[in-house]
């Protein structure tokens, strides 16, 4: 474990990534601990203040402390990301393996569905779902799962096909290999690596989707603070004070950069090992 961490922080990409991610996770999960105020605490007299010693990031149009709102928003962002990616992965694994092991028509059918989903603008999709089910956190999770599972399924399918068609497996097939052994010893190790890399690159993307939808009013309902809704407030009051906008955007930038840097560094580390394993 220590060796992995050392590998990661060797390069500036990994060092910055790991630092930012740790910061975000710490502050978000400890939101209650670190917030000086209640995120929903309204205080109209103090509205739209600039940052001060009391309000580190200033206040929004209802006088709520932006720093506290940002911390709690982080918790929501991470929650959405972790839950939806986890479920997407499970679905992706099941569908991906089914597509690669099953009949050809099933494979073609699933691929076709995947391409069709991709041709939809995500926004379109999201809007339709939101108007169906109403805006909420659960709706967002549902949307993310719908749009992301095909991507996981595709990677699983590609990796599984690669294993199944490799000469090594052909040889074992001739010797009468059984399914469980095939799965556990050959397919799973080959799938886990790319899947893990994909997931780590996906976290910032999913967080961005959640923020974007909340920005459009499709996500969590007020007064729950999502970074997107803070940005929305900032946008509405952009002429009055830049701080809500800055406060909403800053954590997004830090989180997305942090996770992406970390994901890239992990990929640089895992990929050559994967290639060695495959060869």
């Amino acid at each position: 474990m220590k060796k992995i961490i050392y590998e990661i922080i060797k390069e500036p990409l990994g060092l910055i990534g790991l630092t930012l991610v740790s910061l975000v996770i710490l502050l978000s999960f400890g939101a209650d601990l670190f917030s000086p105020f209640e995120p929903s605490q309204i205080n109209i007299r103090d509205k739209l203040q600039n940052p001060s010693l009391v309000h580190i990031l200033g206040t929004d149009q209802l006088g709520r402390d932006l720093f506290s709102r940002v911390l709690h928003g982080g918790r929501i962002a991470l929650k959405v990301a972790l839950i939806s990616i986890f479920i997407s992965m499970i679905i992706g694994i099941v569908v991906g393996i089914a597509a690669s092991i099953g009949k050809k028509w099933l494979d073609n059918f699933l691929l076709f569905i995947f391409d069709t989903i991709r041709s939809f603008p995500t926004i379109m999709f999201a809007l339709a779902i939101v108007t169906l089910f109403g805006p909420s956190l659960e709706t967002i999770i549902f949307i993310v799962i719908l749009t992301q599972s095909p991507i996981y399924a595709r990677i699983v399918r590609t990796q599984t096909l690669m294993v199944i068609n490799s000469e090594y497996i052909q040889a074992e097939k001739v010797l009468g290999i059984n399914f469980m052994r095939l799965m556990v010893i050959h397919i799973i190790p080959n799938v886990v690596g790319p899947l893990f890399i994909l997931a780590s690159m996906d976290i910032p993307f999913v967080i961005a989707i959640e923020a974007g939808l909340s920005f459009l009013g499709m996500g969590v309902r007020p007064p729950i603070p999502s970074w997107g809704s803070i940005l929305n407030d900032g946008y509405s009051f952009i002429d009055n004070s830049p701080w809500p906008l800055i406060a909403g955007g800053l954590p997004l930038i830090i989180t997305t950069i942090g996770f992406t840097f970390l994901g890239e560094r992990l990929r640089d580390i895992i990929d050559p090992k994967l290639k060695k394993y495959i060869n």
Partner: protein
């Protein structure tokens, strides 16, 4: 070669059909009555039924889809529920703005991204490579709408260097261009990052190839090697990426159009779904699916033209 193209076009058609049909089905699961929206709460039952008949909302789903597709070929996409203007007209008005935005955004990506990627591949692991690597990954990481909002805040609201809203006066090219700059940066910045990374990694792969070694063994100059041997092959994944990324571009353009109050397909979709403006939604989805299919097919065809190996794999 021709069979390859026809194959692609046919599948493209199927995809468009599939997306329209599934959309139709989805929309009809949405609660909320368009008729009430159109006519208001004091509509009588007779009026509702008349409109219902006119819009064909009583027929079974298959027939509706079939009629819709039949009408498309006639050029009739129905009318906007709220204003009764023909959907086709609305689309023809709005689409060019989005196309302009997307084109300029990709333009940024190509003009900046490819040279940066190229430079970084040649000077791999130098200080400039590492630093610009951090930047390009950041460009990819930051959500486009955040880029847009910050551009708006810094360059339009605070510094007042560039306009914040709209497309500019018609007929005035300078005005139009200045109104395109910030939104296209918002949409295009991520792509600058994508292309730079992709070009860099493809070139590094090709550098290792044996035929590059051969070229070096003949003393061919580095610049010729990069142009004729490396870039020629490394550019292929870039084209594929651009082609398939149109979907992502669309989502970003929605945000850019909303944030900068630009007219366009993205904003149209957003508003019409919220207003349950079915005909407009269908028309807009038709446009976006078609654009997606056209660009991916074009990308695949250009790819095959440039890399004869793909054509041959298909034939054999």
């Amino acid at each position: 070669m021709l069979s390859f193209i026809f194959n692609k076009i046919f599948i493209g058609f199927l995809i468009i059909l599939a997306s329209i049909s599934s959309l139709y089905i989805m929309i009809h699961m949405v609660p909320g009555d368009p008729i009430k929206v159109l006519l208001g709460p004091r509509a009588t039952i007779e009026m509702q039924e008349a409109i219902s008949l006119k819009l064909g909302l009583n027929d079974p789903l298959f027939i509706q889809i079939y009629n819709f597709i039949k009408n498309i070929f006639k050029g009739d996409l129905g009318n906007d529920i709220l204003t009764q203007r023909p959907v086709l007209t609305i689309l023809l008005e709005q689409t060019p703005h989005t196309i302009a935005l997307v084109t300029v955004s990709i333009g940024w990506a190509i003009l900046l991204g490819i040279p940066i990627g190229c430079y970084n591949a040649i000077y791999q692991n130098s200080k400039s490579d590492k630093i610009s690597g951090l930047f390009t990954v950041s460009f990819i990481a930051i959500p486009p709408f955040v880029v847009g909002l910050y551009c708006l805040l810094i360059f339009a609201v605070s510094l007042k260097w560039l306009p914040a809203i709209g497309v500019g006066e018609s007929g005035n090219l300078i005005s139009k261009i200045s109104h395109l700059i910030l939104p296209s940066i918002a949409v295009g910045l991520g792509w600058v990052g994508y292309l730079a990374r992709l070009v860099r990694s493809s070139m590094l792969e090709v550098f290792k190839d044996n035929h590059v070694r051969t070229a070096r063994a003949y003393g061919i100059s580095e610049s010729k090697i990069i142009l004729y041997y490396v870039l020629r092959i490394a550019i292929l994944p870039t084209i594929t990426l651009l082609g398939t990324g149109i979907g992502i571009l669309f989502s970003s353009s929605v945000f850019a159009e909303i944030i900068f109050s630009r007219p366009g397909i993205g904003k149209l979709i957003y508003e019409s779904v919220i207003n349950r403006n079915y005909p407009v939604v269908m028309g807009a989805v038709l446009v976006s699916s078609t654009l997606f299919v056209i660009t991916t097919t074009l990308a695949d065809i250009i790819n095959a033209l440039l890399d004869p190996r793909i054509k041959n794999n298909h034939n054999s």
